[in-house]
């Protein structure tokens, strides 16, 4: 048996690649600017650090700590169940064996990713002005990091959702795995919102005051608390086309899709398709607006 005494010590890796590889040209750019993928990739670790920082800091000095990630949707659930489930009677429209509050919570979990994108994402840049004016790094990472934190919250409340489903013996449809691919457009929509709103907030501080209304209005427009069956049942047939413009709000079709996949409720493919398309558009459009405004951030922040 030979022991390699000269165990190859990992060669001293240079801290940076040789200079020739980096030629940075600084000049004014006009109009729409594409993404600098190389730059984003080179500093990918920073995105991780920013997400990690947001997570670490968010629940510091709170008594309940990370359980806030669950308490917020739970609290919403209680209110919606009281008013929409019981008072408005939407619970009657759900199939037997599917309690309203579980159906509602299943929508709130992904909804909170999007609402974090609007709220915390929209304010992320102005909350970090000091960084923007003192150092360069891919600015896109600031709003992106917020969504990273929201995904962790979502994971925590998903566990609670799974627990509730088990405890109340709700049947999970075999299509439940489709929730995973549906998460992609949900995250894209949340990112798109965060890019668009954070860039706009830097230029027009008015947006800061619009954000709270917007979150609230979108929550209703996303039908987080109204089952689609209830809508089709109560709305006259000739008004059913309203689903399509409503699907332009990505959350509308996607939250419905998630719940259809989980509980085997009827699918609405047209709505889902429109919402997926609009989430893609929101993501690309948000990133474009962000990139266009980005070069002025340090001057106006």
């Amino acid at each position: 048996m030979t022991t390699n005494l000269m165990n190859p010590i990992s060669p001293h890796t240079p801290a940076f690649d040789s200079g020739a590889e980096f030629e940075l040209v600084i000049q004014p750019r006009r109009g729409w600017i594409g993404l600098d993928w190389a730059d984003l990739w080179r500093q990918r670790e920073l995105l991780g650090f920013l997400v990690w920082r947001d997570i670490k800091v968010r629940y510091k000095q709170t008594v309940l700590g990370a359980s806030w990630a669950v308490i917020q949707p739970l609290f919403n659930m209680v209110i919606f169940t009281l008013f929409f489930g019981n008072l408005a009677g939407f619970k009657e429209d759900l199939p037997a064996g599917l309690p309203y509050f579980i159906w509602n919570f299943a929508g709130l979990v992904p909804w909170f990713v999007i609402s974090t994108g609007i709220g915390a994402g929209g304010l992320s840049l102005i909350n970090q002005q000091h960084l923007l004016t003192k150092i360069y790094f891919p600015r896109l990472y600031v709003p992106s990091a917020v969504i990273g934190g929201a995904l962790l919250d979502m994971a925590i409340s998903s566990v609670v959702l799974a627990g509730m489903i088990l405890a109340f013996g709700v049947d999970v449809a075999p299509t439940a795995w489709l929730v995973a691919p549906l998460l992609i457009p949900i995250v894209l929509a949340a990112l798109g919102m965060a890019y668009l709103l954070s860039a706009m907030t830097v230029t027009y501080r008015d947006v800061r005051f619009i954000i709270p209304f917007m979150t609230q209005a979108l929550q209703y427009l996303s039908f987080v608390m109204i089952p689609m069956v209830s809508m089709t049942k109560r709305l006259p047939e000739r008004l059913h086309w309203i689903e399509w413009p409503l699907s332009l709000n990505p959350a509308f079709g996607l939250l419905d899709g998630c719940r259809s996949a989980l509980f085997g409720l009827p699918w609405r493919p047209a709505n889902l398709a429109i919402s997926i398309l609009s989430s893609l558009l929101l993501f690309v459009g948000g990133a474009m607006v962000f990139r266009r405004t980005e070069r002025r951030f340090a001057d106006i922040a």
Partner: protein, 420 residues
């Protein structure tokens, strides 16, 4: 010679100033303005501002820096130094021109950018290092060195918000000092911390500057630090390069420009800092207590009279003499009371500083002056005035201008002991 590491070509940066105040003649117009205002503000906040309101912070700046050069950027406040560094470190985009940087760039415009008060020292080292552009493995490899340099190992797991300001500055500089970029852009970071720490920073800077193939752009108001570190100086004035050459010459040009400033009427100067609650209007320096004798002389009584716009209670006056090389010689501060201080009635508000004997050696001195009220700075003027000191006698000892070592005289006497 190979390609320059930094080439800056006709770089310019303009900023838009605030909105012009619109005047309206009639009530109707005023109402119309109120209605139109949001739209106008929308346009002006966006990208389509009024051309008339542009201000060029930087214009037509061109220079090349070769590999290994350490270049000092010199200029008064508002000359465009920081804007230049911000353009080169990609924080803000230039309006015109272009710059090419060949190599990995790290910029240090502030110590501790991205430090989060809630995170511990250890966590902040990683976060800050990553923001400055270091890789995780690189930070891990240098972690012990960084902690060692900062001297805060005992508090590594304490949130930074419980650190003293000195401690967090030390930790932040320690992270920055372990960057290994090919191009380093540094702005005035040495202006923080105590003297001991500043010395440590300067040592580290010198070490970095002498490192293999390291190119540095360095901005500082500290002429001594500039001369110690930089081989070349670029002097900016009103956003343009007015001198580019040896550091010593650049510093001389800079100080020469400052003297020109000093002859401007003090009350009309706009390059001043402070709240303006009280302002320096005029300064008189005269000899032997007679305002008509405006030539100061070594060893003779000297008076400095500062005319101020308002003599508010607890107003304090501070002024500092600088030699032609830009080093501070002496600083006098009325907030440090003496039993000999007194107040008197007068028609015009002024503060007077009297010396029984002027102990400055002959030469030309530049003086910065400031008015404070407690912590609050009311007025601060760099190069508020110049002082010429003529040859004289101090304690009947002749001061020979031909053999000048130093700037001040220390009153003394000799004792010659021997057999009488």
């Amino acid at each position: 010679m190979s390609n320059p590491v930094i080439s800056v070509d006709r770089l310019g940066k303009s900023y838009r100033l605030g909105l012009r105040a619109e005047k309206h003649a009639t009530l109707g117009e005023a109402v119309m303005d109120v209605i139109k205002a949001p739209w106008q503000r929308f346009r002006s906040l966006g990208e389509h501002g009024d051309e008339r309101d542009t201000f060029w912070a930087l214009r037509d700046v061109s220079f090349d820096v070769q590999c290994g050069e350490v270049v000092g950027i010199i200029g008064r406040n508002g000359a465009g130094k920081s804007t230049l560094l911000k353009c080169l470190s990609r924080i803000t985009e230039p309006t015109e021109g272009r710059a090419v940087l060949r190599g990995r760039v790290a910029s240090l415009l502030e110590v501790g950018t991205g430090f989060h008060p809630e995170l511990t020292g250890r966590e902040n080292i990683y976060l800050n290092g990553s923001i400055l552009g270091m890789k995780k493995t690189e930070i891990a490899r240098k972690f012990d060195e960084i902690v060692d340099f900062s001297g805060v190992e005992k508090f590594l797991d304490t949130p930074v918000k419980r650190y003293s300001s000195g401690m967090s500055v030390r930790l932040a500089f320690a992270v920055a000092a372990h960057l290994e970029p090919e191009i380093l852009i540094v702005d005035e970071v040495l202006a923080v911390g105590d003297a001991d720490f500043q010395r440590k920073c300067m040592g580290k800077m010198r070490e970095v500057a002498q490192g293999e193939g390291r190119t540095i752009l360095f901005v500082s108001h500290n002429m001594g630090a500039l001369q110690a570190l930089c081989s070349r100086g670029v002097l900016l004035r009103d956003g343009r390069v007015v001198f580019d050459g040896a550091t010593i010459e650049a510093v001389e040009h800079y100080l020469g420009g400052m003297e020109g400033k000093a002859s401007e009427s003090l009350a009309d100067r706009i390059d001043r800092a402070g709240t303006g609650a009280s302002r320096l209007l005029r300064v008189e320096a005269f000899r032997d207590g007679d305002p008509k004798l405006t030539t100061l002389m070594s060893g003779r009584p000297a008076t400095f009279r500062f005319h101020v716009s308002a003599l508010l209670p607890n107003l304090t006056c501070k002024f500092t003499f600088y030699d032609p090389q830009g080093a501070a010689v002496a600083s006098l501060d009325s907030s440090l009371h003496s039993r000999q201080d007194r107040s008197e009635e007068a028609v015009h508000p002024s503060v007077r500083c009297e010396m029984d004997q002027l102990l400055l050696l002959p030469g030309r001195y530049r003086v910065n002056a400031a008015l404070h009220r407690g912590e609050e700075c009311h007025d601060h003027v760099e190069s508020a005035f110049m002082v010429d000191v003529e040859q004289g006698q101090i304690n009947s000892r002749p001061i020979d201008s031909g053999s000048l070592y130093g700037r001040v005289h220390l009153p003394h006497r000799w004792v010659l002991a021997g057999r009488a």
